[in-house]
């Protein structure tokens, strides 16, 4: 069984919502669509206050190469375009739409019929991915057209479809693989043609045997695509770790996957690419896992972007009394929410409701030099050392100690028996190292 070799931890899986089929969440009365749905430059609005919009209509266009189009997730009237708090709690520019009916742009194919267009050229596929506002659905929300545009001098050799879903609790990718397997494979085929590569590997952790079995069966009809079961180990779904597990290659420090000939896309992205190309459907809805030990109905919802997170929690039976923390994303890398009014974005993979007694950080004790953080670090760093450098504000030394290699997977803080906030200090260090690098450039 393949896996990345260095580091990793085994948090309790808690995949409570695995058995819940994807349900359509009713369209809310009001949606808030932030102009930063993606990594990079925020999109530029192309509608005004008072305009009426239809579901799937372009409402903000990409404002640079690393940026993405945004389409209206609902039909109705633009109520306002102004800063609204997002999941960070800080106000960010957003288009707020009051919903009326659900009238879709007619070019979108709303049927479930599987379509396999095979005449599209490489350029047409990339153009369509860009036009439809597709971004990385695993959570990083990196614009997908950038990833499929291989820079000059580099060559893509393999496409890796990330179906690992190594975060505890989350099951949206798992459900998607079970329910939309055919579509994911066709989407992967489009991505292969866009790169172009002749082989694609779908990496899935072996805790999802049904998904492995299902996609394996289906993939026999798709030459060049195969499924690779992977050992259950966090962060197996980290891009660099996944590439290492499947190809044996290590993305160089500071480099990109393409440097070793690999391009990684999430299964959710492959599905979105399928819908964009075969169904002419822009990215305006996604699957979100809503889960928690005390939640009445653990579920996987298909949700329009811009839906308030509170609607998702209401649909899952309401916020339990013993709630301590609500996380957007998984418990290892997700963000704790200051409130429930923030909307779902293209990157919202799950909402995890933690009990109050699970939300308390335990008392920090002295480092006993047990070296568990260093052996858990999948990047081969020394978190204990980075933390003490951070504590002493020795930023230059943190740079030498490769703080910027840290992908913030949280394995170090997770594993520390002294409950030390290792990652908090590394994050502060990374911010300062980046500040120094910026100053050095100018």
């Amino acid at each position: 069984m393949k896996a990345f070799r260095k580091g990793g931890v085994h948090p309790a899986e808690n995949k409570i919502s695995t058995g819940s089929s994807i349900l359509d969440l009713p369209v809310p009365g009001l949606v808030t669509v932030h102009l930063s749905q993606h990594l990079g430059v925020p999109a530029q609005p192309v509608v005004d206050k008072g305009d009426s919009v239809r579901t799937g209509q372009l409402i903000a266009k990409s404002a640079g190469f690393v940026s993405a189009n945004i389409h209206s997730p609902v039909s109705g009237t633009v109520q306002k375009i102004e800063p609204v708090p997002d999941i960070t709690g800080y106000p960010k520019m957003a288009i707020v739409i009051e919903v009326k009916g659900d009238e879709w742009v007619e070019t979108i194919d709303r049927t479930d019929t599987i379509v396999r267009p095979d005449k599209l050229s490489r350029e047409e596929i990339i153009a369509r991915i860009s036009e439809m506002g597709i971004v990385g659905m695993g959570g990083a929300t990196f614009p997908s057209h950038v990833k499929v545009s291989v820079p000059k001098g580099k060559k893509a050799e393999i496409l890796i479809i990330n179906g690992v879903e190594c975060e505890p609790y989350l099951t949206s990718d798992h459900r998607l693989m079970l329910e939309k397997g055919e579509e994911i494979l066709i989407g992967a085929g489009f991505l292969m043609r866009a790169l172009p590569v002749d082989q694609a590997v779908i990496g899935i952790e072996k805790n999802k045997p049904d998904a492995i079995e299902h996609l394996r069966k289906l993939s026999s009809g798709y030459p060049g695509i195969r499924v690779e079961p992977l050992k259950v180990k966090y962060p197996q779904g980290g891009e660099k770790q996944l590439i290492k597990a499947i190809t044996g290659r290590e993305v160089p420090s500071g480099g990109l996957p393409i440097d070793v000939g690999a391009v990684v896309h999430n299964v959710g992205t492959a599905f979105a690419v399928y819908e964009a190309i075969a169904k002419n459907k822009p990215l305006f809805e996604r699957v979100v896992t809503v889960t928690g030990k005390s939640l009445a109905k653990n579920a996987n919802f298909k949700v329009r972007i811009g839906t308030p997170i509170s609607s998702l929690i209401d649909a899952a039976g309401g916020l339990p009394d013993d709630t301590g923390k609500v996380i957007s994303g998984g418990p290892m890398m997700g963000r704790a929410l200051p409130g429930l009014n923030a909307p779902v974005t293209k990157g919202t993979s799950g909402i995890v409701v933690m009990k109050a007694n699970e939300s308390v950080r335990k008392t920090v004790m002295n480092c006993i030099r047990c070296a568990r953080c260093a052996s858990a670090c999948p990047m081969g760093l020394e978190p204990y050392f980075l933390m003490s450098l951070g504590d002493a504000r020795r930023w230059e030394e943190m740079e030498t100690a490769r703080a910027l290699d840290c992908m913030e997977c949280g394995s170090c803080s997770f594993t520390c028996p002294s409950n030390r906030p290792l990652l908090d200090y590394i994050r502060i260090g990374k911010t300062n190292v980046n500040r120094i690098l910026k100053a050095r450039k100018s």
Partner: protein
């Protein structure tokens, strides 16, 4: 959501291991049970008194110093002071007077641990610092070894005899060949079980190995330090033994005699005072094995494990500075 039901906001990760310092320390205590049981069988009353006094005084000093000198919250129940106490007891003869044990505990906890800032801050193994302090302050009492079994019901009045390493050193000094000296030594099977004179916790290789395997199974320690120490001892003494078996004892004798097993499994593996990377741990282990053999074979003392570990403790910061983990995606120069 009501105003009384505020959400906690903190940075990721939001999930934590159930491991704790306390659990680690308690596992070390459990791992020492077999060796303690053996010491009760062979040294009986004395072993019980010495261990009890060491544990109680180590915990007491930890509490008093934290509370009244450092004015910090005493971390008495994390188990680390108890571990130091048991290890100190394991490293002294079972007929050591109570007041000397108390002095040793004060040096171990007060000087070697708390003066550096307490848990996790000490550069040297506290129990060994205490032991070496006692050895050089009270050389007579620290090298009078009760005879196993015979002294089961005795404490200060125990009949004493020499340790196997002592017999060897003395005999070789008088020009006797190893083959002659072996007649005065217990059989290897008896040494393996612990039926010989020595510090109360070091005698039984079997019991120590059981504890070591438990610690490896529970992931408290890794194999790197014990294996590299024992491997180096076997290599070093084996080579000399092959050259001249009359002058040098065989490697098996060196593994079974003295404190090498206790040192390799319980003392050198102390997390606080050993290197962080597996490669660093192997260098550390080789160093300990090498220095131990040098002292045993060429030095004035019959045994040198404690000194070897303390010397290598001093090198740990240097090892950690130069031996780094293998980075992911290391950009090789001229690669």
């Amino acid at each position: 959501m009501s105003a009384t039901n505020l959400l906690t906001v903190s940075h990721s990760p939001h999930e934590y291991t159930s491991e704790s310092v306390q659990k680690i320390m308690y596992r070390v205590l459990i791992a020492m049970l077999p060796a303690f049981a053996v010491s009760l069988i062979f040294f009986g009353l004395g072993a019980l008194i010495v261990t009890a006094v060491a544990v109680v005084s180590c915990m007491l000093f930890e509490y008093l110093i934290a509370r009244f000198l450092l004015k910090i919250k005493p971390s008495l129940w994390d188990g680390s002071a108890a571990v130091t106490g048991v290890l100190l007891a394991f490293n002294v003869p079972s007929n050591l007077p109570v007041w000397m044990i108390v002095v040793g505990s004060l040096v171990a906890i007060g000087v070697a641990k708390m003066s550096f800032g307490g848990l996790g801050k000490n550069p040297f193994n506290p129990a060994l610092a205490g032991r070496v302090f006692l050895l050089i302050s009270f050389p007579v009492q620290m090298t009078s070894w009760p005879k196993a079994v015979e002294s089961r019901f005795a404490y200060l009045d125990a009949t004493t005899g020499a340790t196997p390493l002592g017999i060897l050193k003395e005999g070789l000094k008088n020009g006797q060949p190893v083959s002659d000296l072996m007649k005065d030594l217990p059989e290897y099977s008896q040494m393996f079980l612990g039926n010989m004179s020595g510090s109360l916790g070091e005698i039984s290789a079997l019991a120590l190995l059981i504890g070591g395997l438990y610690l490896i199974w529970k992931k408290v320690i890794t194999w790197h330090i014990p294996v590299s120490i024992l491997g180096t001892v076997v290599l070093f003494t084996g080579l000399l033994w092959l050259i001249n078996p009359d002058q040098y004892a065989d490697p098996l004798f060196h593994l079974l005699a003295g404190g090498i097993m206790l040192g390799a499994i319980f003392m050198a593996t102390d997390m606080v005072t050993s290197p962080m990377t597996p490669a660093g741990q192997i260098i550390f282990g080789i160093g300990i094995g090498f220095i131990t053999c040098l002292i045993r074979i060429f030095g004035a003392y019959p045994e040198g494990v404690s000194f070897a570990i303390l010397i290598m403790n001093a090198l740990v910061p240097l090892i950690d500075k130069y031996v780094k983990p293998k980075r992911f995606g290391e950009v090789r120069k001229n690669g």
